[in-house]
């Protein structure tokens, strides 16, 4: 892991993921009710769980984004980011398989936001790979800097 090009790439990916997750969280944090509706469109969760997820998930995105930005608790943050992306991939796949034409709820809670589609799926897959790679780097060089 002492490869300097790898280290530079890791920093770049870490900051990229941080910016993306912080940005993605903001509109959802401001509008939990609208985000709950966006989750409801996926028709995967009972109402109460959709509401709970709408209240918490945006803050988890923000928390992970900040951890990555500050380079603190990167292992935990990348683990959660990978988990979230896995969920997003499952949700989008299920929506596509059932032919739902719904807005994604990814970056914006307004119904005018981007639709779910294969592009979103590939983006999330890329993010998942980046998060897993960063996680593996983080646990290979343990620096348990918080918790």
């Amino acid at each position: 892991m002492s490869n300097p090009a790898g280290a530079r790439l890791a920093t770049l990916l870490r900051l990229g993921l941080a910016a993306l997750f912080i940005y993605a969280s903001l509109d959802k944090i401001a509008h939990p009710a609208a985000f709950a509706v966006a989750i409801g469109h996926y028709q995967m969760l009972p109402g109460f769980l959709a509401a709970l997820l709408a209240a918490i998930l945006p803050w988890l995105e923000l928390g992970c984004g900040l951890a990555l930005l500050l380079n603190r608790g990167v292992a935990g943050a990348t683990l959660l980011v990978a988990g979230m992306n896995l969920l997003f991939i499952l949700a989008i796949t299920a929506a596509l398989a059932r032919g739902l034409d719904i807005s994604c709820g990814c970056f914006s809670t307004s119904g005018a936001g981007s639709r779910v589609g294969v592009t979103r799926l590939l983006e999330d897959l890329g993010l998942l790979i980046a998060a897993v790679w960063l996680y593996l780097r983080a646990i290979a060089a343990p620096r348990p800097d918080f918790a």
Binding site: A55, G63, C64, G76, L80, S110, P144, A147
Partner: protein, 169 residues
């Protein structure tokens, strides 16, 4: 397994999860645009009950969240019960103007409305009655899927900056 998920990494993840969960619940509680968290009383459960019920005698009152769900599934048509001028000044996205107080020419259009979609009547909100009257008339003419969004324009504006302004007839 333990090699891939060392305890310290899991602890970090758990701490982040707890912090986000607590912050999220508190922030949602304080946010006027927060989502209602009581189990059972959820909008989506209410929607399921709504879609099963048939042969309604009264228009069903629906909430903002139910309205958004119906619109998202394109299973609904919004009917603006206010005057044509008020409609032109701003209406809910996709709504059709059907002023309750207009003459027979307008009434004839009621027969053209779809019977397989929810017809959602609204007016200004805050206790306006035009939407209730329109809803009752629709039920009286044999439409089964009739709802009234009592929050109306007023509540919609509080939650969405977007109120369509061009005419849409």
């Amino acid at each position: 397994m333990l090699r891939w998920f060392p305890a310290w990494a899991l602890r970090q993840a758990l701490l982040l999860l707890l912090a986000a969960g607590l912050t999220g619940l508190v922030a949602n509680h304080l946010n006027p645009r927060g989502v209602a968290l009581q189990p059972g009383g959820s909008a989506i459960a209410g929607m399921a009950a709504m879609e099963e019920s048939d042969g309604a005698e009264l228009p069903r009152p629906i909430t903002l969240v139910q309205l958004q769900l119906l619109l998202g599934r394109e299973a609904a048509l919004l009917l603006d019960a206010r005057s044509r001028d008020e409609y032109r000044a701003g209406h809910l996205p996709g709504a059709v103007s059907l002023p309750f107080e207009d003459g027979s020419e307008e009434r004839a259009r009621i027969e053209l409305l779809p019977r397989d979609r929810w017809l959602i009547c609204y007016c200004d909100g805050g206790g306006c009655e035009l939407s209730e009257h329109l809803g009752l008339e629709l039920v009286g003419r044999g439409f089964k899927k009739v709802a009234v969004y009592r929050g109306g324009i007023e509540e919609w504006r509080q939650h969405h900056a977007l109120v369509q302004e061009e005419a849409h007839e």
